[in-house]
């Protein structure tokens, strides 16, 4: 039906620290993708930040390689920074 390319949308909420993926949409170019994202995902709240990326520009890890990609670290405890004493005064680590 649509000849418009697919775009992925990332939104940072007004008090948010980082952009999160919120969904995708079709648009003829980046400017229209931004405007459509504002209508569809933010209801035009002031102070939010939107990123749009053509879906074709995203390279994803393959589900088939999941084991090779993420597993080996799991059983090697020395790879995880868990051997430190965290002083009581240091919060949010």
């Amino acid at each position: 039906m649509s000849e418009w390319p697919l775009w992925e949308v990332f939104v940072r909420p007004r008090r948010g620290l980082s952009h999160s993926h919120v969904g995708s949409l079709h648009a003829p170019d980046a400017q229209m993708a931004l405007r459509n994202a504002r209508d569809l995902y933010t209801r035009r709240q002031e102070g939010v930040s939107i990123w749009v990326v053509p879906a074709a520009a995203i390279t994803a890890s393959s589900p088939d390689e999941k084991d090779a990609f993420f597993d080996p670290a799991g059983d090697k405890v020395y790879r995880h920074p868990t051997f430190y004493e965290v002083p009581d005064g240091a919060g949010h680590i």
Binding site: W4, L25, Q31, N36, D39
Partner: protein, 229 residues
């Protein structure tokens, strides 16, 4: 008070025309955008009609649903039928460029209640202007067919833009500079200001299109007067 009623009627009739595009826009995303703009216009219409109604002794629903075409004070531009997407965009572009200036001026006006409503509406109209200007450029500077249809839409609607400035002639110069910039970017030609400058909407003298629009908008309210919804 004609002032507030007229502005409210502009927004109400524009909202009704935009709502007719629901599920008929060229793309899903555009459908949402048009509905969004329609809702903005309707929201402003409710505030303005409620305010006008307090003076006239009628509420917003009575003003919207129980007046005849001769009692509506909207400009002719907003009631014109949308023959195609280009006509819709041309109308929205000319209207929102005007509304943005008008609400901007009213937001610092002496009437505090009206200034409050205008301050809210001016932000929305900036978005409407941006959206319709984007499409004017896309269609004007698009394919040969879209260019021809956008130019035809601009030519068709242009005479009706004169009426926008009957009450506020000082806004026509800044309006023209906004419109000229976008038309130039869209590779469109601004029509000559010919002698035909249809008007009368503010006095209740409308095109035949308004009667049909009102018949559809008001049918249920007239069939069951006084019902609660």
């Amino acid at each position: 008070m004609t002032d507030v009623l007229g502005l409210g009627d502009d927004a109400l009739i524009a909202a009704q025309r935009l709502a007719q595009w629901c599920a008929r826009a060229p793309e899903l995303e555009e459908d949402v955008a048009l509905a969004n703009i329609a809702l903005d216009q309707l929201g402003t219409a409710r505030l303005l009609l409620s305010y006008a109604g307090e003076v006239l002794g009628r509420d917003e629903d009575q003003l919207a649903f129980l007046r005849t075409d001769r009692e509506f004070r909207n400009v002719l531009l907003v009631e014109l039928p949308d023959r195609d997407f280009a006509v819709l965009i041309a109308k929205l572009f000319f209207l929102s460029a005007y509304q943005h200036l008008r609400y901007g001026a009213l937001s610092s006006g002496a009437d505090e209640r009206l200034a409050g409503i205008a301050a809210k509406a001016v932000k929305e109209s900036a978005y409407h202007l941006d959206h319709s200007a984007q499409w004017t450029v896309r269609l004007g500077d698009g394919t040969d067919v879209s260019h021809a249809r956008m130019q035809a839409a601009v030519d068709e609607v242009w005479p009706y833009t004169h009426e926008l400035f009957d009450e506020v002639p000082e806004l026509r110069a800044p309006w023209l500079s906004t419109v000229d910039g976008v038309l130039a970017e869209a590779t469109l030609t601004r029509p000559q200001d010919e002698t035909w400058k249809p008007g009368g909407g503010r006095q209740g003298v409308h095109t035949e299109a308004l009667s049909y629009l009102l018949a559809e908008m008001q049918v249920l309210h007239r069939a069951h007067p006084g019902a609660r919804w």
